[in-house]
């Protein structure tokens, strides 16, 4: 028990003291808080006959950061990939249940529209083999959002939004592959921001980065939070504690607990959550 408390203290230390913690903002009680951006009700997910998500229900709050944590293979990334239907690239994968973006069913939206509204940043930085400019301009060009001077402006805005502008403003025509890993990941974020998504999904965006690059990305999340809803999958519980307003704990395909981050890390309702965050398994 002593060991448990120590471990928990260790995690809660990472709670950012400057971030206002909405102590009363327990999603289930429905008190005054941010609007619901994504509403999941009984979402099931299957790869062929194998069920990997069971009855996921959650309210993701608008312009907040929600972290999804849990051990490997628990379904958190699958849930993330359900929100922009990225799972459709996998054969025999299917999702069921109710999943709403505002009031639109995610399963019914046309893919280009859905992905225009829900952006994604991947675990591994994935710059296209193009110039830095063309990487950021890719999304706007696909959706015909801007061209000419307006596009140049949009690229600059997006790069500024991803805190990358000052480092690349003189080398926009250089290959994106020449950037460092951390820069490449911020470029991925700029690329996603360029189509002004309402929701940004981040799948372990820092797992391939060094601590300094990680810190930059985390800082960035707080500025992006003002313009879009963020959902971040992370293996790093300290990171969840640092950045997230809400945290969901996945275990074996179920969303075991979903609450504001402080509650999850200090007084979790479920034994499994407590065991996981105190490092007894996972």
């Amino acid at each position: 028990m002593i060991a448990t408390d120590a471990a928990r203290a260790n995690v809660t230390e990472n709670l950012n003291p400057e971030r206002p913690q909405e102590a009363a903002a327990v999603p289930e009680t429905g008190k005054t808080q941010a609007a619901v951006k994504i509403k999941a009700r009984n979402v099931d997910f299957f790869y062929g006959a194998k069920q990997v998500l069971q009855g996921i229900s959650a309210d993701i709050r608008e312009r907040k950061i929600t972290a999804l944590i849990g051990p490997s293979g628990c379904g958190k990334t699958t849930f993330l990939r359900t929100i922009n239907r990225m799972y459709e690239t996998v054969k025999h994968a299917r999702a069921e249940g109710e999943l709403l973006l505002d009031s639109d069913s995610i399963f019914d939206l046309a893919l280009p529209n859905l992905r225009r509204r829900v952006g994604m940043v991947f675990q591994k930085p994935n710059p296209f083999p193009k110039s830095i400019f063309d990487n950021v301009a890719y999304g706007p060009r696909v959706h015909g959002l801007a061209n000419g001077a307006r596009l140049t402006e949009l690229v600059e805005q997006s790069l500024r939004g991803a805190a990358l502008w000052d480092e690349v403003k003189d080398s926009l025509q250089k290959s994106a592959l020449s950037l460092s890993g951390g820069q490449q990941q911020r470029l991925s974020i700029a690329r996603a921001l360029a189509i002004d998504p309402e929701v940004l999904l981040l799948d372990e965006p820092c797992s391939a980065l060094d601590p300094i690059s990680t810190a930059k990305i985390e800082e960035l999340l707080f500025t992006i939070e003002n313009r879009c809803t963020l959902i971040i999958v992370t293996h790093n519980m300290a990171q969840a504690a640092r950045v997230a307003d809400y945290t969901g704990f996945f275990l074996m395909g179920k969303l075991v607990e979903f609450n504001d981050t402080k509650t999850i890390f200090t007084t979790p309702a479920r034994k499994e959550t407590e065991d996981y965050i105190t490092g007894r398994f996972g």
Partner: protein, 283 residues
């Protein structure tokens, strides 16, 4: 002998045996190069490179028309074979799945192993008979048929090395499958695809059999693509079989030239590819 000593001895012997096998395996290449250099190098001179063949019995003359002719045939082969092969490779890798792609892939594998003389007969039946005469067009077509399966297979393989997360990066931005393929996947594999095309061209550059009764031969310049055309491999074949020493000398020189060109293309494209692979690892 103790156990450790025994293991060390076995290790040393097996290393030596495999090293010997490796050297033996590449020995033919060095041997061929050596012989060609000894027999042919002295005959590669300015007139060999710039003059037309002299009539039988007269000394001297060169292979200018065969050198240009080979280039012409390769150009035609590339024009016919490369767009089709690259498009086919894109289909197999990106839009594949089962069924049709399986059949196409299998057919491509079979086509690679069809004897080149058979492809020559095919081109003869399809092009030469219809046109009523030999032509560089027919030769280019025959080489294109040889080129096609190599380019298809090679393009597919390089496209498959493009990581999933790169495709997903584009799809996640709302781009469609085709847009993703053309704007992200193909550019990412471009260097490999180009290298593969060069290697395939180098491979068919030395083909003789498909040209024997398609492009045939020509002692003069071929005007346009309708006439029979001379090529290095066919010229080598003809001169080597002739009874004249001067022709033999020129055949050796032509063989050295052909092998040299093929080797240069081969080595250069592999160097480019190796560099590309290295830079991707760092990224």
């Amino acid at each position: 002998m103790n156990r450790l000593g025994w293991r060390k001895a076995v290790n040393a012997i097996m290393s030596a045996v495999t090293a010997l096998c490796a050297v033996t395996a590449v020995a033919p290449l060095l041997f061929v190069l050596g012989i060609l250099a000894v027999k042919g190098a002295s005959s590669i001179n300015w007139s060999f490179l710039t003059q037309l063949p002299k009539p039988t019995g007269e000394l001297g003359g060169g292979m200018a028309n065969a050198i240009v002719g080979s280039g012409q045939l390769l150009l035609l082969a590339a024009l016919f074979g490369v767009p089709l092969g690259v498009a086919g490779g894109i289909y197999l890798s990106e839009f594949g799945g089962w069924g049709v792609p399986f059949v196409v892939r299998y057919a491509a594998d079979l086509l690679v192993s069809v004897p080149s003389i058979v492809i020559g007969i095919f081109a003869y039946a399809v092009v030469v008979v219809r046109m009523g005469h030999f032509s560089s067009l027919a030769g280019g077509f025959a080489l294109a048929v040889m080129l096609l399966p190599i380019v298809v297979t090679n393009t597919e393989q390089f496209l498959r090395t493009v990581p999933v997360w790169l495709r997903e990066g584009s799809l996640a931005l709302g781009a469609g499958h085709w847009k993703t393929t053309i704007s992200v996947v193909v550019p990412a594999a471009m260097q490999g695809i180009l290298t593969g095309i060069l290697l395939a061209l180098a491979r068919v550059a030395g083909e003789t059999a498909p040209l024997l009764f398609t492009a045939f031969n020509n002692d003069y310049w071929a005007r346009g693509f309708q006439q029979p055309v001379s090529s290095l491999p066919v010229r080598i074949y003809e001169y080597a079989l002739s009874p004249y020493d001067d022709y033999h000398r020129q055949a050796w020189a032509a063989a050295l030239l052909l092998l040299g060109l093929v080797l240069i293309v081969n080595v250069l494209s592999r160097l480019v590819l190796a560099k590309k692979m290295a830079s991707r690892r760092i990224a």
